[in-house]
C-alpha cells in the first residue's frame, strides 16, 4: 500500500513522540518519555517536561528516520500536535516541526491531539467507520465525540466537568500509596481484588447527559480509606483498587454505549492512555457485544501519546488534498476539538 510519507511530532504532555507513517502503514514510532522525572512530584511538571522535549526532539526524529529506513528528504509532509496540551511543551514540538518543514521544503500540518488519538487506529484496524463514536480517556482528557470525518468533522458530545479519568487514577493511587502514574499499579492491584467489595459513587450516571465527573469518586475513595485508617483497620488495597476501577469503567462504558445509541452509530473507538486499562477494555467489549456495537481499541502502545498518531492523521489530511498550515502556526493549549487542522 502506498500513500503520503508523513513525519508526525507530538509534545503535548510528557512524551516526546516522533512517528513515521506511509498512508495507513506504520513505519516508526519513537517515544522518549520524561515520566520518570515527574514521578517524585506526583504529576507532570510542565517546565521539566518542556526541557526534556528540547533534549529528546532531534534524537527521537533521527531514530524514527533510521527505523523507517528513510532519509529526511523522502518525507512528503510534517504533521505536529498544535493543541490541546501544555503550552510550553507544545511550543517545542511546533517550533521543531516548522523547522523540519521549512528546511525540507515540505508542507506543515498543525493538527488536533484528540483527532490524532482517533486517527491512529487506522494503522492497526484499517479505515475508520464514518461516522463513529470515539471515547478518549487519559490523564488530560475524557471526551465522547461524534466523528463523521476525522480529517475535518469531529463533534463533541460530552466531556468531564472536573477531573480527567486518568487524573482520578493518579489521585487514588496516591491515596493507596502507589506510584505515579496511577493507571498501571491500580490495574495490577485490581486484578486480585473484589470489584463488588465497595460501592463507590458513579458521578452523573443518571443525569441524562454524556458528560463525566470523577472528582466525587476520587474524594469518596479517599474518605473510605481514611475512615478505615482512623478506625485502626487495615485498608484492603486490592478491593479498593478493583471497586474504584469498576466505577470508572462502568460510567465510561455506559455513556459510550448511550452515545452510540442516541446517534444511531454502530462503531465505538476507545483511545487515550486509560484505554490500556484491562477492566475498561473487558467491560466495553461485553457491553458493546450486547448492544450490537463494533468496538475498536488500538494496542496500548498506540493509545498513549505518540508521534505515529499525529503522522496517521496527517497522512489522511494529505490524502484528502486539504490545505496545509502556515509557518506562523500558533500552538494552542486549549484548541477546541472541532479544529482538526489549524490554519
Amino acid at each position: 500500500m502506498t500513500g503520503p510519507l508523513v513525519l508526525g511530532i507530538e509534545t503535548s504532555c510528557d512524551e516526546t513522540g516522533a512517528g513515521i507513517v506511509r498512508g495507513r502503514e506504520l513505519l516508526a514510532n519513537e517515544i522518549a518519555s520524561s515520566v520518570a522525572e515527574h514521578a517524585r512530584f506526583g504529576g507532570v511538571v510542565p517546565e521539566v517536561a518542556s526541557r526534556a522535549h528540547l533534549e529528546a526532539m532531534v534524537p527521537a526524529v533521527d531514530r524514527a528516520m533510521e527505523r523507517a529506513g528513510i532519509k529526511p528528504g523522502d518525507i512528503d509532509a510534517v504533521a505536529v500536535t498544535a493543541g490541546p496540551g501544555l503550552a510550553g511543551a507544545l511550543l517545542v514540538g511546533v517550533a521543531a516541526a516548522k523547522a523540519y518543514a521549512y528546511a525540507l521544503g515540505k508542507p506543515l500540518y498543525g493538527v488536533n491531539h484528540l483527532a490524532a488519538h482517533i486517527a491512529v487506529d487506522q494503522l492497526e484496524h484499517g479505515p475508520l467507520p464514518e461516522p463513529g463514536i470515539a471515547l478518549l480517556v487519559s490523564g488530560g482528557h475524557s471526551s465522547l465525540l461524534l466523528v463523521p470525518d476525522v480529517t475535518g468533522d469531529v463533534q463533541p458530545l460530552g466531556a468531564t466537568i472536573d477531573d480527567a479519568a486518568g487524573e482520578a487514577y493518579d489521585k487514588v493511587a496516591r491515596v493507596l500509596g502507589m506510584p505515579f502514574p496511577g493507571g498501571p499499579p491500580i490495574d495490577r492491584a485490581a486484578a486480585e481484588g473484589d470489584a463488588g467489595a465497595i460501592r463507590f459513587p458513579r458521578g452523573k450516571y443518571h443525569d441524562g447527559t454524556l458528560d463525566f465527573s470523577f472528582a466525587g469518586l476520587k474524594t469518596a475513595v479517599a474518605r473510605w480509606v481514611e475512615a478505615r485508617q482512623d478506625a485502626g483497620e487495615p485498608v484492603p488495597t486490592k478491593d479498593v483498587a478493583a471497586s474504584f476501577q469498576e466505577a470508572v469503567a462502568d460510567v465510561l462504558t455506559r455513556k459510550a454505549v448511550q452515545a452510540c445509541q442516541r446517534n444511531g452509530v454502530t462503531d465505538l473507538l476507545i483511545g487515550g492512555g486509560v484505554a490500556a486499562n484491562s477492566r475498561l477494555r473487558s467491560m466495553a467489549a461485553e457491553r458493546c457485544a450486547s448492544a450490537g456495537i463494533r468496538l475498536r481499541i488500538p494496542r496500548p502502545g498506540l493509545c498513549t501519546d505518540n508521534g505515529a498518531m499525529v503522522a496517521a492523521l496527517g497522512a489522511q489530511i494529505v490524502s484528502r488534498g486539504l490545505p496545509p498550515s502556515p509557518l506562523g502556526l500558533p500552538a494552542d493549549s486549549s484548541l477546541p476539538v472541532t479544529d482538526v487542522v489549524v490554519r
Binding site: 511538571v45 517546565e47 518542556s50 528540547l54 511546533v94 523540519y100 479517599a222 481514611e226 506562523g328
Partner: protein, 247 residues
C-alpha cells in the same frame, strides 16, 4: 559563508542573514508571547529578502540566553532542527554578549567611566539576567541571575532591557534594549575567522570547553542557559479529605 542567526531569549524575535562580512537582511519584532509564531516566518523572510535559498546556508547561529524559558527553547530547538535537517553546524552565543556587541558597535557605552559596562535583561520575577564587560566586549563576570539591586558595580552604564525596567536600581541605561541578530552573526563570523586563522574550522557542532563561558565571546553549544532550576516541589504528606477527629 552564509550564516543564519536568530535570538528568542528576550521579548524580541530577531533574525539575520550574514555573509561573513556583513548583514544581508535582518528582521526584528518585539512581542514576548508570540516567539513560536514569529520565528519561522521571519527566517523564511530574511532568506527570501536576500534572494538566497535555504540550501545555501553554511551555518546556524543562535542566542542561547539566558532568557525566560519558553521563548528561549523556540530558538534553540529551531536551530538544532535546521542544523540537522540541512547538515550544517550550529553555534550558540550568550544573548548578553550579543547585547554587549551591539552597545559597543553603537558607541553607547564606550568611553563611559572606566570603560566597563553591564548588560541586564528581564528575568521576570523581579530579577535580571546580567553580565559585566570590559570596553572591548570581553565578558568579565556572569552570566548570572539576581535582583537588580543585588547586581554588583551598578554605577557603570547598563545596556539591555533591565535598565529600562528598573531605572531606579540600574540608572545608567543605554541602548540597545534588545539583542540584534546581525550582531549575533557578527560574533560567530568573527570567532570562526579567528579559529580559521589558527587552524581549520571544526566540522559539526562546536562544543567548546566550559572555559569559553568565562573568557568572553566564545562560541557555545546550542544548549539553553537556564540559570534556574525548574519550579517544582515534591509533595508533602497527602491532605485528608475527611474532617479530622477532635480527640
Amino acid at each position: 559563508m552564509l550564516l543564519l542567526g536568530f535570538d528568542t531569549a528576550t521579548p524580541a524575535v530577531t533574525v539575520a542573514l550574514h555573509d561573513g562580512e556583513q548583514v544581508l537582511a535582518q528582521v526584528a519584532t518585539v512581542d514576548a508571547h508570540r516567539h513560536a509564531e514569529l520565528l519561522a516566518p521571519a527566517i523564511a523572510k530574511v532568506i527570501a529578502d536576500a534572494g538566497a535559498e535555504r540550501e545555501d546556508l553554511t551555518a546556524i547561529a543562535v542566542g542561547v540566553g539566558p532568557g525566560p524559558y519558553t521563548g528561549l527553547r523556540v530558538g534553540v530547538v529551531t536551530a538544532r532542527v535546521l542544523g540537522t535537517a540541512l547538515g550544517i553546524p550550529v553555534y550558540g552565543v550568550c544573548t548578553l554578549d550579543v547585547v554587549a556587541a551591539g552597545a559597543i558597535a553603537a558607541g553607547t557605552v564606550t568611553g563611559a567611566g572606566g570603560g566597563e559596562f553591564l548588560v541586564a535583561t528581564d528575568a521576570r520575577r523581579r530579577e535580571v539576567y546580567w553580565a559585566r564587560y570590559d570596553p572591548a566586549g570581553q565578558r568579565l563576570a556572569g552570566p548570572g541571575v539576581a535582583r537588580p539591586d543585588q547586581v554588583e558595580g551598578r554605577d557603570v552604564p547598563v545596556a539591555g532591557e533591565g535598565a529600562r525596567l528598573y531605572p531606579d536600581l540600574l540608572p545608567a541605561g543605554r541602548e540597545p534594549v534588545y539583542p540584534a541578530a546581525g550582531d549575533l552573526c557578527g560574533i560567530v563570523a568573527g570567532s570562526l575567522a579567528h579559529s580559521a586563522s589558527e587552524g581549520p574550522v571544526p566540522g559539526g557542532t562546536v562544543s567548546p570547553g566550559a572555559g569559553a563561558l568565562a573568557t568572553g565571546t566564545g562560541l557555545l553549544p546550542p544548549e539553553p542557559l537556564y540559570l534556574r532550576r525548574p519550579d517544582a516541589r515534591e509533595p508533602g504528606a497527602r491532605k485528608r479529605v475527611s474532617p479530622s477527629c477532635a480527640s
